[in-house]
Amino acid sequence: MYSDTVMDHFKNPRNVGEIENSDGEGEVGNPVCGDIMKIFLKIENNIITDARFKTFGCGAAIASSSMATELVKGKTLEEAWEVSNKAVAEALDGLPPIKMHCSVLAEEGIHHAINDYRKKHGLEPWVERNPHPRDHHEDLIADH
């Protein structure tokens, strides 16, 4: 069901944990939907020097968090903002269609953490250029 890369990032997740006194934090998802992702960023001179995560979710959610934190490390905030969910999924050698929302969650988590940093520094938060439809989350809540 999952690619070897997904399984590798699931079984040996990179960057698990929290950053004390992080410069930016983002939390996305909802336990009711079965996935919640928390991203922590350390930012120096506009560059992400460290990225960590904590995730409650399926194998794809954990692997997406791991890959997304790997991809943004060492990047400027502008570059990190451009890391799309597709880039995360591609770096994982693909995700099953029903699990694509996990990569969306990772992209959103990074965006939330970057905007958290910007707000803390009195900067205007960046606007999602292609806001993702609220995928399944609200549908699910409506169902229950």
Binding site: P31, C33, G34, G57, G59, A60, A61, H136
Partner: protein, 391 residues
């Protein structure tokens, strides 16, 4: 050295086929291949073994031989029972009663019938997954033609008060069907004593082959055919008989019902030790389903702060085969309808694990799971943002 240890604890999904069963089946693929409908004498043998298997199934259920019809399995039996009664009795009424925790073979059949103009009532369950016969009593109307309630639930193992539910249905002259796919071999079944008009079963749940099942239909029932064609199964179910499968089903049900108490003592002893061990060793774990009225091999527990699919992937890595009610494995993104019906919060339903023990499990398997599971749960909790918050 050697092969990786595999611990199979998913017997509610399917079982292996017992050696004696397989050996009984093999000749009917090779030397005795005749079509039972043919006239020449070699075909006569095929007809005889089908009749013998019918006797074995009837005996296991307390039914008469001519009340047993072979099908392709549990799903076909459920479809036949429900659609067959619905279409044959629609002049009398268009109301069907079932429960919120049925298998999808029943639920989706009922949904289909709703599109065809039938109304369906889905009885609620209590937090243990039990259906209250008083709720059934209240739900029956003049238009009710069928009640379908499962004998035992496949996810949480709860055994329903079938005889009482059947009695309520019969008091109102309403047909009573039960999906007994999980019950055969685990719970004593007697269709006459338990007021059952139709009963679905499937061989691969009790150490028989896949692709073969049966529907018991009480004599005198008004029911339409589902599969139309030739005159097999006394003109009730068309299609050349799956002779080897039928032979396997007969042998498997005979073995499975020969000593239910002895089988249950063995399985239940291991199950209780495993369950106790899990609840003691892992904090924030809860049993789903009924404490006593449950299938002897069934464990269904929820672990707070973690998600079931990740749990299964790690267990699989350790060689443990299990199931979950989490959304993330169902392909639908919605957690188990059974756990939700018991009132379990959605976020806890995502962290459920089902272990179902069977014949091949040993005390060593129990020890192995008790060694591996706490480590896996704690590994996942360590990376869960919810654990720290609450913990």
């Amino acid at each position: 050295m050697g092969e990786k240890r595999i611990v199979y604890m998913d017997h509610s999904a399917t079982t292996y086929t017992k050696k004696e069963v397989l050996e009984a089946m093999i000749p009917y693929y090779s030397e005795h291949f005749g079509n039972p409908s043919s006239i020449y004498s070699i075909a006569g043998d095929s007809k005889k073994v089908i009749d013998a298997a019918r006797v074995q199934v009837a005996k296991a259920l307390g039914a008469d031989t001519d009340e047993i019809y072979f099908t392709s399995g549990g799903s076909e039996s459920d479809n036949w029972a429900i659609k067959g009664v619905a279409f044959a009795n629609r002049k009398k009424g268009n109301h069907i009663i079932t429960s919120a925790i049925e298998h999808h073979a029943v639920l989706h059949t009922c949904k289909y019938l709703e599109k065809e103009g039938f109304t369906v009532t889905y009885l609620p369950v209590d937090k243990y997954g039990m259906i209250d016969p008083a709720d059934l009593e209240k739900a029956i109307t003049e238009k009710t033609i069928l009640v379908s309630v499962m004998f035992a639930n496949n996810e949480i193992g709860t055994i329903e008060p079938i005889a009482e539910l059947g009695a309520v249905a019969h008091n109102h002259k309403v047909y009573f069907h039960t999906d007994a796919v999980q019950a055969i071999g685990n719970v004593p079944v007697d269709v006459k004593e338990q007021n059952i008009d139709m009963l679905s079963l499937s061989a691969h749940k009790f150490y028989g082959p896949k692709g073969i099942g049966a529907l018991y239909i009480r004599k005198g029932m008004k029911i339409e055919n589902l599969i139309h064609g030739g005159g097999q199964e006394r003109k009730r179910r068309a299609g050349t008989e799956n002779i080897a499968g039928i032979v396997g089903l007969g042998k498997a049900i005979e073995l499975a019902t020969a000593d239910i108490d002895g089988h249950n003592r063995h399985i239940q002893g291991m199950r209780d030790r495993l369950l106790q061990g899990i609840l003691t060793k892992i904090s924030g774990s809860h049993l789903n389903g009924h404490k006593e009225k449950r299938l002897p091999g069934n464990i269904n527990v929820s672990f707070e702060f973690i998600e079931g699919e990740s749990l299964l992937l790690w267990l699989d890595d350790e060689g443990i085969c299990a199931s979950t009610g989490s959304a993330c494995t169902s392909g639908s993104l919605e957690p188990s309808h059974v756990l939700i019906a018991t009132g379990l919060p959605v976020e806890i339903s995502h962290g459920s694990l089902r272990l179902t023990l069977g014949d091949i499990n040993t005390e060593q398997d129990v020890d192995f799971i008790l060694e591996v599971l706490p480590k896996v749960v704690s590994r996942l909790r360590d990376m869960s943002p919810l654990y720290r918050k609450s913990g």
